[in-house]
Amino acid sequence: MREPLSIRATTYTLLALFVLMVAIPLFWMVTTALKSNKDLYEDFSYLPRRPTFEHFVRVIQREDLLTNIRNSFVVASTTTVVTVFVSAFAAFSIVRYRYRGREWVGRLILFKYLLPTAMLFVPLYAIVVALGLGNTLTSLILTYLSFMVPFCTWMLMGYFRSIPPELEEHAMVDGCTKIGALFRILLPLSAPGIVASAIFSFTLSWNEFLLALVFTSDHTTMTVPIKLSMMVVGDQYIWGQLMAGAVLASVPITILYFLGQRFVVQGLAAGAVKG
C-alpha cells in the first residue's frame, strides 16, 4: 500500500529535522578542530577558511594528550580482559552448577545494577586511599570491575542458558574436563556474547568520568575525559585544541561500536530477554 503524499512529506520533513539536529553539533566539533584561532575568535566563519591540523598537533605536543590516551587505553583494555574472564567463569558457574547461595549472587548483581555510582564514590574513594592506591590506574581498573563484572555476568548468563548442556556433556564423555568444556564448547558458541561484553566493558571504561575524576589527580594518571575537562578551565582560547581532543577521544569508540554493532544489539537482547 502506497503512503499518502501528506504522510510521506511529514515523514521526510521530520527526518530532515532530526538529521540536522544530530549533524550540527557534530559539524561544530569537527570544524572547530580544523579552524585556525583567527577563524574561531576574531573573524568568525561557519566553515574553516584555511583548514589546519595545528590544534591536533598542539593538543598532542603541548598538552601531551598521548599520555592520557595511553592511560585510557591501559585502563579500558585491562578492565575488558579481566571482566570477560571473570564474568565468563561466574556465568558458567551460576548456569551450570547447583549449590546453595547461587540465587544470592544473582540478586546482588541486580542490586548493583540499581545502585547509583554517586552513592558509592565517596566510600570507594576512602577505600582506595586506605589501600594506598590513590592516584593510580590500578584504582580505576579495580573499581571499574565492580560495575562491568555484574553487568557482563548477567549478559553471559543469558547466552550460556541458550546453549544446551548436552554439548558439554558429550565433550566430557570424550575425556574433556568441565573447564575444558567451558573453553572448547561454551565460549566459542557464545562468541557474540563475549564480543558484546568486551565492547561494553571497553566503551564504558573509556568513557567513565566520575570515578576517574575523584581518583586521579595529576596529569600522568589522568584518563582522557578528565584531562580534557581540566583543559576547559585553563585557557580562554582552548576550544580548537579541546575539540581536536574530543575528536581523538570519539573516533576509536565510534569505530569499535559500528564494527561490533550487530553483536551489541544481540547481546542486549540476550541479556534482557533470556536473562
Binding site: V22, M119, L120
Partner: protein, 281 residues
C-alpha cells in the same frame, strides 16, 4: 565454587562493603586522613537544614522529569519516522544513533562550546538570523541554565529510546495496521490503539532504567555549569561531589547520598505505578 570466587569478592568488596560503609560514613565525622567517630544524626540534621540540599532535591526532580519526558517524546518521534518506509533507512538509523555512541563527556564539552556566549555557534546563528540582538549567556543565566543542561542531555540520550522503541515497533504485525486501515482508523488512532499497546513492555523497561540513570546524571551538570549559577543546576550528584571531594566532608557527602536513596526508590516506584495505571487504562 571456585569459578565464582572473583565475582563474589568484587561484589562483596566493591559493592556491598562500600554500600554499608556509605551508610556508616553518614553517621560519622570522617574526613580524609582521620578516623571518624559516630555522631548520630548530626550530618543529616546539618544537611537537611542547608538551602543547597533543598535546591538539589528540587533540581534533581525537575531535571529527571523534564529530561525523561523530552527523551521519550523525541525518541518516540524518531522511532516512528524510522519505522516508515523511507529510503536509506539503515543509514539514517546508524546516523541518528551517533550522539549515543559518542562518549558523554565529549558531547557535553561540545555543547558547552555551542552555548559559549562569546564565540559559540548558537549565539552566532541566533544573531545572524536576527532572532536576538545580543548574545545569551545560556549557562550562566539562572533562567536558561537548567533548560540548557536538559537539552544537551536529551541530545545525547534520545537515541537509546529511539532504538528501543523502533525494535519494539518492528515486532508489531503489519496485518494489524492493514486491517485497521480497512476499518478506516486514522493514523493517530492506529498509534493510540496498536503501536502504544504493543510497546507497553518496552516503554516500561526503558523508562525504569533511564529514570534511574537520569536521576544520577553527573557529567552534564559538572561539565556544563558545575552546579551554578548560584545552585540553579545543583543536582544531588553534584552536591555529593562538592561536599565530599571539594569540601572534603565525607560524612555529610554520604548523608546526602543516603538521603537520596528513598527519593530514587520513590522515583522508580512512581514510574512503575504510572505504567501500571496506563497499562490498565
Amino acid at each position: 565454587m571456585g569459578l565464582l570466587a572473583p565475582t563474589v569478592l568484587i561484589l562483596l568488596g566493591l559493592v556491598l562493603y562500600p554500600f554499608f560503609y556509605a551508610i556508616w560514613l553518614a553517621f560519622s565525622d570522617k574526613a580524609v586522613g582521620s578516623a571518624g567517630r559516630y555522631v548520630g544524626f548530626r550530618n543529616f540534621a546539618y544537611v537537611i537544614a542547608w538551602p543547597q540540599f533543598s535546591a538539589a532535591v528540587f533540581n534533581t526532580v525537575i531535571f529527571t522529569f523534564s529530561a525523561v519526558a523530552l527523551k521519550f517524546v523525541l525518541g518516540m518521534s524518531v522511532a516512528l519516522v524510522l519505522n516508515q518506509r523511507i529510503r536509506g533507512r539503515n543509514f539514517f538509523r546508524a546516523f541518528l544513533l551517533l550522539p549515543w555512541v559518542m562518549p558523554a563527556f565529549v558531547v557535553y564539552l561540545v555543547w558547552r562550546w555551542l552555548y559559549d556566549p562569546l564565540s559559540g555557534l548558537i549565539n552566532y546563528a541566533l544573531i545572524d538570523l536576527g532572532l536576538v540582538a545580543s548574545p545569551i549567556a545560556f549557562l550562566s543565566d539562572r533562567s536558561t541554565a537548567m533548560p540548557s543542561v536538559v537539552v544537551a542531555h536529551v541530545w545525547r540520550n534520545f537515541p537509546f529510546y529511539a532504538i528501543s522503541f523502533l525494535a519494539g515497533m518492528q515486532t508489531i504485525s503489519q496485518e494489524l495496521y492493514d486491517s485497521a486501515q480497512v476499518d478506516g482508523a486514522s493514523r493517530a488512532q492506529q498509534f493510540r490503539y496498536i503501536t502504544l499497546p504493543g510497546l507497553y513492555q518496552i516503554i516500561g523497561v526503558v523508562l525504569l532504567l533511564t529514570t534511574i540513570q537520569t536521576a544520577n546524571a553527573f557529567e552534564p551538570v559538572y561539565l556544563l555549569t558545575g552546579g551554578g549559577p548560584s545552585d540553579a543546576t545543583m543536582v544531588y550528584t553534584m552536591l555529593v561531589y562538592v561536599m565530599g571531594m571539594v569540601n572534603l566532608r565525607l560524612g555529610e557527602a554520604a548523608a546526602v547520598s543516603t538521603l537520596f536513596l528513598p527519593l530514587l526508590v520513590g522515583l522508580v516506584l512512581a514510574v512503575t505505578v504510572l505504567l501500571h495505571r496506563k497499562a490498565n487504562a
